[in-house]
C-alpha cells in the first residue's frame, strides 16, 4: 500500500513519463461537503490499445514472461475502490492516456493526500522537458501551476537552477 495519495500521483506520472509524454496535466479536487477526493492525470504519451488498457488494470497481467507484473495501476484502482470511490482508465494508442480515481474523504482507510509540494517539485525539476500543469481545488479554493508559463518567464535559465528551485519552493509554500 502507498502511504500517501501523492505517492500514487507520482507513480501514475512516472508511467506517463515512461510513455514519453511531453505534456502531463494533473487535477486534484478535494471537497469536504461532498465527501470526495478526485485525482485525474491526463498525458499525451504513446497510449495503449483497448485490450492492453483492460489488462493493465489486472494485477496478474504481464506482457512478457521476462517482465515483472505491473503494480502501479492495480494499486491505485484498488485504493479507490476500497475507499468508496471509482476508477477509470481511458487510453488511445498514439494519443495519450487519462486516469481517474475518486475516494470518499471520510473513509477510514483513505491515505492522507500527503506532501503535494515535494511531489510537484520532484516531478518538474527532474523532468524539465515535460510540460506539467497542476490544478488543485480544495473546498472551492483553486491553485494552479503550469511549467510552460514558468519556462516562458525563465528563457534560457533552466528550471532546475538552484535559484529557481528556491523560488518554486517558496511559491508552493505560499500558495498551496
Amino acid at each position: 500500500m502507498m502511504a500517501e495519495i501523492c505517492d500514487h500521483i507520482m507513480d501514475i506520472a512516472i508511467n506517463s513519463i515512461t510513455a514519453v509524454a511531453k505534456k502531463i496535466d494533473i487535477f486534484i479536487v478535494q471537497d469536504k461537503k461532498q465527501d470526495i477526493l478526485t485525482v485525474r492525470v491526463v498525458d499525451n504519451g504513446k497510449g495503449m490499445t483497448g485490450e492492453i488498457s483492460e489488462k493493465v488494470q489486472d494485477p496478474f497481467f504481464s506482457t512478457k514472461t521476462s517482465r515483472k507484473i505491473g503494480l502501479g495501476i492495480p494499486l491505485f484502482k484498488g485504493t479507490a475502490e476500497h475507499c468508496g470511490g471509482d476508477f477509470y482508465l481511458k487510453s488511445k494508442l498514439g494519443e495519450g492516456t487519462e486516469i481517474f480515481a475518486s475516494f470518499a474523504l471520510s473513509h477510514p482507510d483513505l491515505p492522507p493526500l500527503g506532501n503535494l509540494k515535494d511531489t510537484i517539485l520532484v516531478l518538474i525539476i527532474s523532468n524539465p522537458e515535460v510540460n506539467f500543469s497542476f490544478s488543485y481545488i480544495i473546498n472551492g479554493k483553486n491553485f494552479t501551476l503550469n511549467t510552460k508559463e514558468i519556462k516562458a518567464q525563465l528563457g534560457d535559465v533552466p528550471i532546475s537552477h538552484p535559484e529557481v528551485i528556491k523560488f518554486i519552493g517558496q511559491y508552493l509554500d505560499e500558495n498551496l
Binding site: 502511504a3 518567464q153 534560457d156 500558495n175
Partner: protein, 127 residues
Amino acid sequence: MAKLTIEDLRKIKEKVHAETSLREGGWRVKVTVHMGTCGIVSGAREVMSALIKEIEEAGVTDVMVSTSGCMGLCSREPLVTVEVMEQEPIKYEYMNPNKMRQVFKRHILQGEVQTPFVLAKGAEIIK
C-alpha cells in the same frame, strides 16, 4: 510582503544572468532516482526531495537530476545512479535522505565514491 507570482521569475532570470554566464549545455553530473512503484513505496520520492534540497542549498548548477521507472531490483530500493562525466556510473542501493545527502556532499561534490552504499559500478554488480 506581496505574494510571489510567476512573473517574479523574470527577476530570478535577470539575477542569474547578472551573476553567472550560463553554461552551454553539458552537465558535470547526472543523478537518476529510480521511481518504479516499489521504489516509491520504499521512499524514492523523499530521496529525490533531499537531493533537490541539497542542490538548492549548495547553489550548484552543473548537477542534473532525473527520474526513471522500474529497474527490476525491487529488493534493493531506493536505487540512485550517479554518473560523473567520463566516469563509469555508480549505482547506490537502499538509499534514504541521509545517505543521499552524504552521497551529494562526498561523491557528487568531492568525487569520493561512497563504497558502503554501492550496488554496482558500471554494468558490474559488486554485491
